[in-house]
């Protein structure tokens, strides 16, 4: 997993705030991503999970500099890319690609599949003429499509096929890191498995590193080596995949994991679900303290006053919660 321990991407205290409103109506700051830090090692898959609106997608887009970070540092392969201009970024862009969520919106409907896949090749002037053509056929076959598809238009394909085209487009420039922004959430369950398996195969074949953003916990467990759990713009727990699923420490992670259905109705009905009270708090002008405190059943005064930092508890397992130790006792007690 962390073998060799070479971080390909380091995210240090990354923040992305969106300012809305004018000086007259009062400025509002939406803290979409509020100081997240993690590393992704070469060849691994880092899963980023959290409920809708917690800032996963914003984090992904900020990491690849589609959004300019408000604060923090992004280090890609020992190069600081935090404040690079678009021009300086161009060679980095070749090495860092993205697979998008909506296969219907991520392909330009006015371009043929050839033009879509070749866009990166043409932009970086990687190949021309017959080599370019062969590369496109090769990529189509790599993602399980046919040569004959090259001259078609996106609307002639199904969602799964379109996602494959999107994957071929990102593979065309031979990237090191691929940010998968919920690549399977818009697909049918049967197609989801196909795409995830294909992503795993591609990872082995081309030595890719993935940042896998998703909210489907079982799928994330399947593909990830390490997982970060986000809640309202903050990372609440980072851990190895198996460790997280067997020993969740943060109360949010616990409730999140308890929502995974067990594919056996008898067992599922016996299972205890931790149902969160209340709604997700607004990310606009947040108060200090733990973001999760208003919904946390263990919350105490300290949680509402002091923002918890990520603390390392066990190897590679970090949690941002003041009460981990106490909860752990209680949790173990409960399960006894």
């Amino acid at each position: 997993m962390n073998n060799g321990k070479i971080p390909l991407l380091q995210v240090v205290n990354l923040k992305k705030h969106f300012v809305s409103g004018s000086r007259l109506s009062g400025k509002q700051v939406l803290t979409a991503v509020d100081g997240i830090s993690f590393e992704i090692y070469r060849g691994e898959t880092f899963g980023l999970v959290g409920e809708s609106g917690c800032g996963k997608t914003t984090a992904g887009r900020t990491i690849c500099r589609l959004y300019n970070p408000t604060d923090g540092q992004l280090i890609f392969d020992n190069i600081d890319i935090t404040n690079m201009s678009e021009k300086e970024l161009k060679p980095i862009r070749r090495r860092m690609q993205m697979i998008f969520q909506d296969p219907y919106a991520s392909l330009n409907t006015r371009m043929t599949i050839t033009d879509i896949i070749a866009e990166g090749i043409d932009t970086h002037k990687l190949l021309t003429g017959i080599e370019r053509e062969n590369r496109i056929y090769e990529l189509l076959e790599v993602v399980g499509l046919k040569r004959e598809h090259a001259s078609r238009y996106p609307h002639e394909f199904s969602g799964g096929q379109r996602q494959r085209i999107g994957i071929a487009r990102s593979l065309a420039v031979n990237p090191d890191l691929i940010i998968c922004d919920e690549p399977i959430s818009a697909l049918d369950v049967s197609i989801q498995a196909q795409i995830v398996n294909m992503l795993e195969d591609l990872q082995k074949e081309f030595g890719l590193t993935y940042l896998f953003i998703a909210h489907d916990l079982s799928m994330v467990r399947h593909i990830s080596d390490r997982i970060g759990v986000m809640y309202l713009g903050k990372l609440v727990e980072v851990s190895d995949c198996d460790e997280l699923y067997t020993n969740p420490l943060h109360p949010y992670t616990q409730s999140l994991l308890s929502s995974i259905p067990i594919p056996n109705p008898r067992e599922n009905s016996k299972k205890k679900r931790i149902i969160l009270e209340g709604d997700i708090t607004s990310p606009i002008n947040p108060k200090p303290g733990c973001r999760f405190a208003p919904r946390c059943r263990y919350a105490q005064d300290i949680c509402r006053q002091v923002t918890p930092e990520l603390r390392e508890l066990g190897e590679g397992h970090t949690v941002a919660c003041h009460l981990v130790e106490e909860i752990k006792k209680g949790f173990n007690h409960e399960s006894d």
Binding site: R61, R93, Q97, N108, Y153, H155, E156, R169
Partner: protein, 395 residues
Amino acid sequence: MRKEDFEFVDSSLKQDKEQIRTSLTYWKDAWRRLKQNRLALVGLIAIILITLIAIFGPLFTAHTYREQDNDKINTTPALDIYQIDDGLFVYVSRQYRLFIVSEDGVLGDLLVNTETNVNLRYKTYEYNGEEITLDYSYKFSDDPEYKDIDFTFTYKDVETFEKHKTVLNKTYPFGTDQLGRDVMTRVFYGARISLTVALVATLVNLFIGVAYGAISGLEGGKVDNTMMRIVDIINSIPLLLYVILLMVMIDNRGLWTIIITLGSVYWVGMARLVRGQVLSLKNQEFVLAARMLGVSKGKTITKHLIPNALGPIIVSMTMMIPTAVFTESFLSFIGLGISAPTASWGTLANDALGGLELFPYQLFFPSLAIAITMLAFNFLGDGLRTALDPRLRKG
């Protein structure tokens, strides 16, 4: 189920059947839907006809747009002819000029006027040494008995007062204007000028508007704010007033002046439209994907944004052409447009104003041309709007 019930499928059947199917592109699909809209097709055909007439019409008429025939001024499209002798037909113009005319409406020579008596309301003309007297006093008579009589002719001592028939003017199908120019040729020629002005002005608008709007929308932030405030300022000046001022400022009044004036002002609408489209497109995932691949801003505009905004742009362009035709006609009508002897539909309408009561046809034909053109473009524009609507297209 037994094994024998099954048989092996021929391998050729397993091939993807889809390979044979040609792909239905966006434009093919739009054309298919446009064809179903009858009104839009009528508009399209009318536009093609008008364009053909504008290009080739003036070549096939017997007269040129500037050729004057001082004898045959203000002749009407329909001629009331009188038979004053065997095979001798005459036509009286509204100014009591007497023309020889054939029975089927070919206009002959103007007869020489030998005597005019305004008090007794008669005129005499000479034809082949004989005298024709035209008495138009009945026209002014209040006696209901003579209500139906307009003119009486005396030729070789025979009096004629009964209208023979009304025929269409074969020499000048749309009549002539007050300078004896063929109205039909001038309307055809005017189509050239009006459509050229409209088309070129619209193209200028298109290029400025699309480039301006796309840059403003894609850049966003301060650039967008500044660019759009400039548009607001231009838009807050009454456009017609601005155009009139510009036309007065630029002395040389010709085709190009009016094109430049129209082009320099009317792009703001297009710029706004394109900016709106770009704003809604630029956060779509395919544009983000292009950014991720390092595609430059210029390429993003030309390859991703404009092709996807083309539907509304085309619709707006089709709607802009009739507006430009109308504005050009209006400016020419108030005397700021094309100068004589060049004719646009607007100048034709303006020229016709003087004799409106007596010669309404001189206003009718250019106005009809303007109306048909505007209607045709509006029908087509509406049809295109429906045909290019992305909501009607699946996937």
